[in-house]
Every structure is written in structure tokens, then in C-alpha cells.
């Protein structure tokens, strides 16, 4: 509750960045540079591929966190939106020779349109109803995709040829054909998407969303056009998820409808809640949980079922005790640990507690 209030209060709009914000920004920049330059050299190709997936899914969890954390819209259909973006990108990549960034942009826009079409009528619903209708829509899209399939180089609008003996891979940009290069490419796209969201949250849409999340009647009374801003959130979330879909298409080369089951949408919500919906780092943590942890466990021969159990426990934990997720909890726990250790160390030489 406190966290929400802090972020909602307009007095937080700083004109000049504070010292802690500068430090935070600096640390973030260093980490990003490290990830960009050093990670592909240090990690084996297995983990480079995994980190590319982390980059892709961090965009998806960012979108979901935006909807859940900033606007209070629980979407249970994010995997379906990702599938639409991947479909659009794959179709364009097979049908045209457009440069990759253009294809990503187009995929994002197409997905945004789909998001708006869905969002428009659905916005009359709130809370549980909205969440459930997103689940229903995701279920529909999953069934449609199972029938029309993803493009695989065939002809016609759907671009699917079911009888192929050799399925052609979806192409990658010419500057990023190798796996380490593609990881860097996906990182750049992810950073751009994060920057886009940041640009929104720090300016008027972000304030409007915070007001709506705090109290819709109050926001209405303050003259905020709730419909418009909610739609804007939908549009933004759909756009960046669509772009993520495009990056995914190039990463994995082959798209199958079985890779986007309805269960994935549920898992995505679970990890986004666990990572923390109020901070951008939460999206990265969520993506690490969703993609890196399974790869790690897979490598160690531990069954993926343990992860499903962990996500279930995580959801319960987040909802009952730590609403801001790991992104908030871990630094706080570390700080508490630090204070606790500090007190212990100070106690020792003196003898008596203060």
C-alpha cells in the first residue's frame, strides 16, 4: 500500500535527479554494459541462447507488469499476445525482404491493433471479470493458432505449408546471425522497450495511470480520461509484446503453436507477480525466473515440475506477504540483514546492547 502511495504522489516528480537515483542509474548502466559486452564471451552458447530468451521475455513481463502494476489490469493472456506478434513477424519475414527493425516495428503495430480491438470492448469490465475475459480471449487465440499454425514459408495469407519435408528457418538480421550477436541485438531491443516504458511512466501517462490505480473515482474527478489512458496502457503493452514476439521469432527460428499454450500465460502472471510489478527490475527478475531458472534446472537434471511448484508457492507468497515482489523484497531483506549484522558487530566490542 505504502509503495503505491509513494509512486502515486505527484510530489515525487523530481525536476533534478537525486543522488540515489544517479547511483541507481549508474549501476544499471554498468550492468547493462557488462551484459552486452562481457556475457556472450563468458557464457557457453547454451546460456547465451538462454539469456536471449531472458531478454525477449523481459519485454513481455515488462508489458504485463505495466498492466498489473501501473494500471491494475490483470491480464491472463499475455502469451497469446506474444504469439500474435511472433506470427506477424514470421509472416513478414518470410513474405518480404524488409530489414529486421522495420519488421519488428510492424509486428509491434499489428499486435497493438489487435490489443486495441480486444481492449476497447473489454474495458467496460473490471477486476476479476477483466482478468477472466483475457483468459477467455487467450484460449480462443490458442485454438485458432492450433488450426492455422505459424507461417513456415508457405504461400497464401497464412503462409503455412503442412507437408514440408524441410522447414526453412526464420531469418535473422544480417548483422546478428550468430547466437552471441543475436543476444546483443535482443538486448538492444529490450533496452529500447524499457526506455519506451520509462518515458511513459515518468511523464503524464504514468501519472494518470498511477492516479487510476489509486482510485478511479478520484482520477475521474481530477479530470483524467480513464478510458483513454487505459487504452493507451493496453496499446503500449501490446506494442512492446508484439516487438518481443518478433525478436522471439528470429531467436528460435521455428515457431509452433504448441509453444504458446494457455498455461504459459498463467505462468507469466505468476513470475511477474513474483518479480515485482512496481519496478522495471521486477520485469528482469521475472524473465530470469521464467527462462533462466528452467534452463539451469534442465542442465542440472532437475525436473521442470519443481519450478512449477516454486512458482505456485511464489504466487501465494507474493500475494499474502510481499505485494511488491522480489524486486522490492530482496533489497529490503538485504538491508534488514545489513542492519542486523551491523547491530551485532557494534554490540561485540562494547559488550552491552544499545
Amino acid at each position: 500500500m505504502r509503495a503505491t502511495l509513494e509512486r502515486a504522489s505527484p510530489a515525487r516528480i523530481a525536476r533534478r535527479p537525486t543522488r540515489s537515483q544517479l547511483i541507481k542509474g549508474g549501476v544499471t548502466a554498468v550492468l547493462l554494459l557488462f551484459a552486452f559486452f562481457a556475457l556472450p564471451e563468458l557464457l557457453s552458447l547454451y546460456y547465451v541462447d538462454t539469456m536471449t530468451q531472458v531478454a525477449v521475455y523481459s519485454i513481455v513481463t515488462l508489458a504485463l507488469g505495466l498492466l498489473v502494476g501501473r494500471v491494475g489490469l490483470y491480464s491472463l493472456g499475455q502469451a497469446a499476445v506474444l504469439a500474435i506478434g511472433a506470427w506477424a513477424a514470421a509472416r513478414l519475414l518470410f513474405a518480404t525482404t524488409q530489414p529486421y527493425p522495420l519488421v519488428l516495428l510492424e509486428a509491434g503495430l499489428i499486435t497493438m491493433l489487435a490489443g486495441l480491438l480486444i481492449g476497447l470492448p473489454a474495458l467496460r469490465l473490471r477486476g476479476l471479470y477483466l482478468a477472466l475475459i483475457t483468459l477467455m480471449l487467450a484460449g480462443s487465440i490458442t485454438v485458432v493458432l492450433a488450426t492455422v499454425n505459424f507461417p513456415n514459408g508457405g504461400h497464401g495469407f497464412l503462409g503455412y505449408n503442412g507437408s514440408l519435408l524441410h522447414i526453412p528457418p526464420i531469418r535473422r538480421p544480417s548483422i546478428a546471425a550468430s547466437d552471441p550477436a543475436y543476444f546483443r541485438y535482443s538486448m538492444v531491443v529490450a533496452v529500447l522497450m524499457f526506455a519506451l516504458v520509462l518515458a511513459h511512466t515518468k511523464t503524464r501517462p504514468g501519472r494518470a495511470w498511477a492516479a487510476i490505480r489509486q482510485s478511479e473515482p478520484a482520477a475521474l474527478a481530477a479530470g483524467i480520461n480513464i478510458w483513454f489512458y487505459k487504452l493507451w496502457a493496453f496499446a503500449l503493452a501490446s506494442f512492446i509484446t508484439g516487438v518481443a514476439g518478433g525478436v522471439l521469432a528470429g531467436a528460435i527460428h521455428y515457431l509452433y503453436s504448441i509453444n504458446f499454450p494457455t498455461q504459459d500465460s498463467i505462468t507469466l502472471l505468476a513470475v511477474t507477480l513474483m518479480g515485482g510489478v512496481f519496478s522495471l527490475w521486477g520485469a528482469v527478475i521475472a524473465a530470469l525466473l521464467e527462462q533462466f531458472l528452467p534452463a539451469l534446472l534442465n542442465n542440472w537434471g532437475v525436473s521442470a515440475d519443481w519450478l512449477i511448484i516454486l512458482f505456485g508457492v511464489g504466487v501465494l507468497q507474493v500475494l499474502t506477504t510481499a505485494p511488491a515482489g522480489l524486486a522490492d523484497q530482496v533489497p529490503r531483506d538485504l538491508a534488514r540483514l545489513g542492519r542486523f549484522l551491523g547491530r551485532r558487530l557494534r554490540r561485540r566490542p562494547g559488550g552491552d546492547a544499545e
Binding site: 547454451y46 507437408s163 522447414i167 504448441i258 534442465n298 499474502t320
Partner: protein, 451 residues
Amino acid sequence: MRRNNAARRTILLAAALALAAAGCSSSSSSSGATGSTPAAGSSSSAGAATVDTSSCGSKPGVKATGTPIPLGAIATNQPGTSFTDIPNMAKAYFDCVNANGGINGRPIKLYIATEQTNPAQIAADAKQLVQTDKVVGIVGNTSIIECSVDSSYWQKLGFYIIDSGIAPECYSTPNSAAVNMGPRYSSDGAVQYALAQHVSKVVFDQANVPGTGYIAAGPNALAKAANVPIVDLTENVPITDANSVAIKEVNDAGPNGAVILNFTPPQALVILQAAQKLGLEDRVKLWGCSTPCNTDFLAQSLGPKWNGKLFVNAELAPPDDTNTTSMNLYKAILKQYGSSVQGGIGSFSQMGFTEAEIAVHALQSITGPYTVQSVNAAFKAVKDFDTGQLCQLWTYGDYPLHIPNNSDWTVTPKDGKMTTAQGCTLISKVDPQIAQYRNAAGTAANAPTGS
């Protein structure tokens, strides 16, 4: 409040862990129970008791020491679909070999990577095996899409993999040779049997997983050549409404028609049971199924109404009807080393056994160091090898595509077990891929030697 929450958290975690830990112990005991099902158990133990597993290796009783020869396998393992039994059985075979002399005294180490049908993960697994585990050969791959995702990678690196194929590329590329027939040719076998019984119409229904068009092309070619109309259906899995599926199939097939299914055992079981409950099983001339249905589990669960009614394509020799050295060795190794093989006796573990058999045979022929080049050259050079599990002798060869197992048995359930209904029959070369393979392979695609 904080204390309650923390307590709640710990309780929850502890409960989940305790449940799972209890489950781990119970599932291993229950898998032991499932491994020796009542009917098959007696025959398997009788066979095993008389066969010494040490014949798997070249030096009985001598444990192999020395630098391990690393091999790799990728298998699907996700809720609802798990193929880990196949590489696990291969590993059991390798364990036997390692305990009995190894390969020129060196043990084989099999790295098994599992995946959840995620192309990124599958590509990553392949790179992990090659770059981190430094495997020199791939034996035992069984995955819904791995062949599609990795075939160009294997081609680039010069790996000639021995696998249990599913995706089209397992059978249409130079770098993969399978011990099984895969869904297309297995469905061909089932449809072929039905056509031989002079049915007037065929309904071919399959799971909506990648490759349905490729799979259906085979049965469609066969039906067309026989001038029998064929209807292609697909169902989304897992099936939630088996009743409508069964009614549709029966309606489309008609009283003198055949319904041929291509599903995993749980899904096929659901459809067949629904047909039985609806009283539809006698409304068509016969029911057929591709090889996944060839398991005693299914025979037991279906009951006597399906005796002689359901005809299943069998890619590998029926374990209960075959009393050869190889089959007895397979059962013995499964019993002694196959504790991680959940499904017990059945086509999955048979495939693992066969793949390992071929690999060991190839490795034993290598003189000099075991490198990617030497091992894969040896795999490719395997020719006319009698695995004892297949109709034909198995050959890899230097061909643009590989379908070395292209002859099948047909089995039917009888009193809880799958029994042979028809001996080895070649898959018709009306299927264009089969024709292409036979042209390329020449005498290697021989007529069956098994019965």
C-alpha cells in the same frame, strides 16, 4: 502478523517439499510395480533368469576404466509427453557394456538433455552437448521437434545421429537415421493393414502437433493408390471431449470403413474408451493405430471387446511373442540396469536398447582415437546390422535420407497383451518418401528377415 506470515510461508514450503519427497520415494516404488505388469512380468522374469547380461560387452565381468567416451541424447520431457525412457534405456545398455569390458576398456558416458518442446531450449541443449559436454556422437534423441530445429547444426558439425524419430527431418535429411518408423510410416503401416482387409473408406485422425500435413501425406498416397476414399481429421490435444471425436470418426468411416488413429497412448485410450462406452466399436469394420498404441498398458486398459478389433502397427518386435537372444538380453538388461526406465517392457525401451546396440556395434569397430570424425564415420558405416528387434537388418549409409526401418508387424490386443496379428510386411513404396529411400539405399532396404 509478520511471524504468522513467515510461519505460513515455512509451513507451505515444508508441506510442498514433504509431499514431493514422499512422492519421489513412492513413485520409484510404483514405477517398479508398473515395470513388471502382472501378465508380462512372469514371462520377462523367466526369460531374464536364464540370460546373463554380460553378453552385452566384449569382456564379461571386467569393469571398464579409462577416459569415458562421451555421447549425447536430447529427449522431450514435459507434463503429458515424456520420452526419457528411450535414452534412459540406452544408458542402461551402456552401463551393462561398461561393466563388461566397455569399448576397448573405455566406458561410455551418455549425457541426456531434456527439453519441453521449446525450440530455443532444444538448440541450446544441442550446443551444450557439443561445446560443454564435448560429446563425440548423438545416440537416443527422441523429440517432437528436435530434428527440425537441430538438423542443420548436426549437418554443419558432421554428426550422424542415431535417433527415434518423430519430426519430418528425422527421416528426410542425411544426418539422421532412426530405429523406428516415425508417425508417418507407422501410420502407413496401420492404413496398409486396413486396406489389405478391403475396407471401403479410411478415416485418418491424428493429434494436432507439428507435422500433420507431412504425416497425412503417406496414408493419403496409400489410400489413393488403392482407390479408397480417405478423410483426414486432426484433434487438439489433450482431448477434453472424446465422445464427439469418436462419433465423428465412426460416422465418417461408415460400417465398412476403418478408423486409423495417430495419437499418444493416453489420447488414443481416451478415444477408444469413449467409442466403447458409446457402443460404437462395432460400427466400423476395424480400428487401427500407429505404433504409440503398441503397449500392454493399452491392451489392459481397453479390455476384451477390442481383441481382434484394434490393429496396431508395431515398429519393433513384439516382446511377448519373441524368444530370441536379443529380446532376452533386452529384458535382462532392463531388469538389471533399467531402474530409471519407467515404462518397463515396451517399444520405448526397445528403441533405446536398439539405438545403444547399434552405437556399441559401431564404436567397437573403431581403431584409433574416438573423435567426432571417427565416431560419426563409424555410425554412418553401419551396414546390415542385425539388431534382433526389427524386421530388417539396419543400415545407416551415405544417403540423402534415411528410413532404415520400413517394415512392420501388426499386433492386436488379446487378454491384456499385444499379440502378433501379422508378421513382417514392407511399407508400400506408394508412399513417395519410401520410394525415394529404396531407390537411394538399394539393397540396404532389404525385404524383412524377421518373422
